[in-house]
């Protein structure tokens, strides 16, 4: 009787311990709703997702790499590099006389293809030449940064069509008294009038990609191999997985997501910038770790990484709404990171990787 109750309590504590990140996020939300005037609004919630996109995407990229036991330090500057080449190509296509929509699509598709290249090189260096991931991707960080700056020597990466802006800063759904509902196109309303704007387009785009990758990681052979490589390389090799080839794919995926962030940056800010993603790298890695992944590899999930990213984004936005300098953010994130690793040690998970949950 007593033993059963005790086990039940222990189970509950374990359960709560494992869900600490979610509980922490809820505490943040409640705290800021109470103490930050203006925080509890639709606008701020959408803002958190809108400005969080870079860390969501780079965090997902980093997650795949970290599960295989590697690290990709180049994602921030690959993002900047992609923002510059896409902006340069799109404006060049338009100057050459192309229509805006085809120019935009072609520029984006080409950028996403070129954006696979840094990942391909990283992957080959790591799997074929046995260069440690830290060194290979750190070198790639420098190379993409340098090339990006060379590209803007003859002028900034700008002159985007207005369409880019409409997509990047537009919403899926609008409602205003008078014009009523409309999709994608913002109705004309008098200045200062009420308008409801719901779900930024690029948030939808980013979450479609993230959703697909969550599925790939959890439900497909590709995902299982990713976990297998990080869990035990020798076992993975013995079971016939082509580890080298898989790692190349992983680094290309990471590079692809970084390029996608770069393209989204151009849609949001209509300019390319070499260091556009530089400050997001550490947040992305922090998000992965807060999300319970281990830098030794073998575990972690996409949704937990997004949860980790949200913890940072809510903290940052909340502090800003309160008017507290975000220097404090660095301290708090540091403490959360250490706690994350310790808490995960105290409450070992059943394994996030199994599909039974």
């Amino acid at each position: 009787m007593n033993a059963v109750t005790k086990r039940k309590t222990t189970n509950l504590v374990m359960e709560l311990g494992r869900r600490w990140a979610l509980i922490f996020l809820l505490i943040e939300l409640v705290f800021f709703s109470l103490f930050a005037q203006g925080f509890m609004s639709l606008r701020v919630f959408q803002m958190i997702f809108f400005f969080g996109i870079t860390v969501f995407l780079l965090g997902t990229a980093e997650l795949f790499v970290i599960i295989t036991g590697g690290i990709d330090l180049s994602v921030g500057y690959v993002m900047g590099f992609a923002s510059i080449i896409s902006a340069k190509m799109i404006s060049a296509f338009i100057q050459a006389g192309m229509q805006h929509l085809p120019a935009l699509i072609l520029g984006i598709v080409l950028t996403l293809i070129i954006g696979l290249l840094p990942g391909l090189i990283n992957g080959l260096l790591i799997s074929r030449l046995r260069v440690p991931p830290f060194i290979a991707t750190f070198s790639m960080l420098g190379i993409t940064h340098g090339v990006a700056e060379l590209l803007i020597l003859d002028g900034a990466a700008k002159n985007m069509p207005h369409l880019a802006n409409l997509i990047g800063n537009g919403y899926f759904l609008y409602w205003a008294p008078g014009p009523g509902l409309s999709l994608f196109i913002r109705p004309e309303i008098p200045r200062g009038g009420f308008i409801l704007e719901l779900i930024p387009n690029i948030v939808i785009l980013a979450f479609i990609v993230i959703g697909i990758l969550a599925y790939v990681l959890k439900r497909t052979v590709f995902g299982q191999h990713t976990y297998a490589i990080g869990g035990n390389v020798d076992a993975a090799i013995r079971s016939g997985i082509n580890v080298g080839r898989h790692k190349v794919k992983i680094y290309m995926l990471s590079s692809f997501l970084a390029s996608l962030s770069g393209v989204i940056y151009v849609l949001m800010y209509v300019t390319g910038k070499g260091d556009a993603g530089a400050s997001s790298l550490l947040d992305a890695i922090a998000a992965v770790v807060i999300g319970g992944a281990s830098l030794y590899g073998g575990k972690g999930t996409v949704w937990r990484t997004i949860l980790g990213a949200l913890i940072i984004a809510v903290l940052e936005t909340g502090l800003r709404v309160m008017g507290i300098p975000t220097f404090d953010k660095y301290i708090i994130v540091g403490v959360i990171l250490i706690s994350a690793v310790l808490i995960d040690k105290v409450f070992p998970e059943k394994t996030y990787t199994d599909n039974k949950e």
């Binding site: 979610l22 005037q37 701020v44 700056e149 800063n169 940056y265 070499g274 400050s279 800003r320 709404v321």
Partner: protein
Amino acid sequence: MKKGFILLASLMLLVIAGAPLFANGGTDAATDEEITILFMPGIADPFYYMMEKGVRAKGEELGINIVVAEFPKSWGPEAQVPILEATVARGGVDMVLIAPTSVDALITPLKKLYDQGIEIITVDTYLGDGDYSKSSEYSFPLSYIGSDNEKGGREIAEELAKLIGEQGKVYVNTTNPDVSSVAGRVKGFKEGIAKYPNIELVGVDFNLDVQQKATDQTLAALQKDPDIAGIFATNVFSSQGAYQAVVNAGLTGAVKIATWDATVDMIAALKKGEVDLVLAQKPYEIGYLAVEWGYKFLTDGTEVPKAVIPGFEYFTQANVDDPAKDEFIYK
């Protein structure tokens, strides 16, 4: 795991559903007739700290509410826009004084605030080409209050030409090709220097607001052209970086340096003879004037000139100890 997310999603939905009610209440409470002006700086540096002082001083004098947003730690829309939007979300902001960190990228975020009924004045840097007097997609701000950077660039060119005897090679170290203020300085400098047939401009480097890079670039330029006679550095980071490079190369005195922005460090360098000319903008006055004009517009609808341009002050070794000039040093 799944349960957790359903829980999270439903909680967020609940909060969002209830949010508009609370949000409106909040905004109304904050507005209550009091005028609130938000100052959004471009980056954490002495120039904007000085401007903040001007903003606060005038705000206190007028008895209005001044909110100073967090100073971005790097230069760029990805650092500035999230701070701007989160700070405005507090509610009650009537006017934003902002140094846009990009001529293009800030148009949409600021237009969004303008459409909500918030007035915009750009300080130090501007949107588009900075001409708000003719109608365009970026002509909605009330005014640009800041230096005439091209004029400053031309004047610096003349002063530097005098210092190097109107002949030899000159080099420019600047920050970012996408920022209106520094781009104007370089443009003006090129125009100014073009009037001297015996002066050759050997290069323009962009250090992207990283001082160490300015040092490296200037060292590289000095290696390529060891006979560079004069250097123009366009802002705090450029000047301090370029000056360090000249010192490292052991060329102090042989290369004349003209710099922009009178930080305490630059004035100290001038006193030591390490640089030769310092142009001081008037950030304090820019902040002060912006609040003054903003207040007039918000209270009686006084029309604000589309551009308000305070002049410059020049520091040379001859006048640097003049106590009357002390107020123009950024501290």
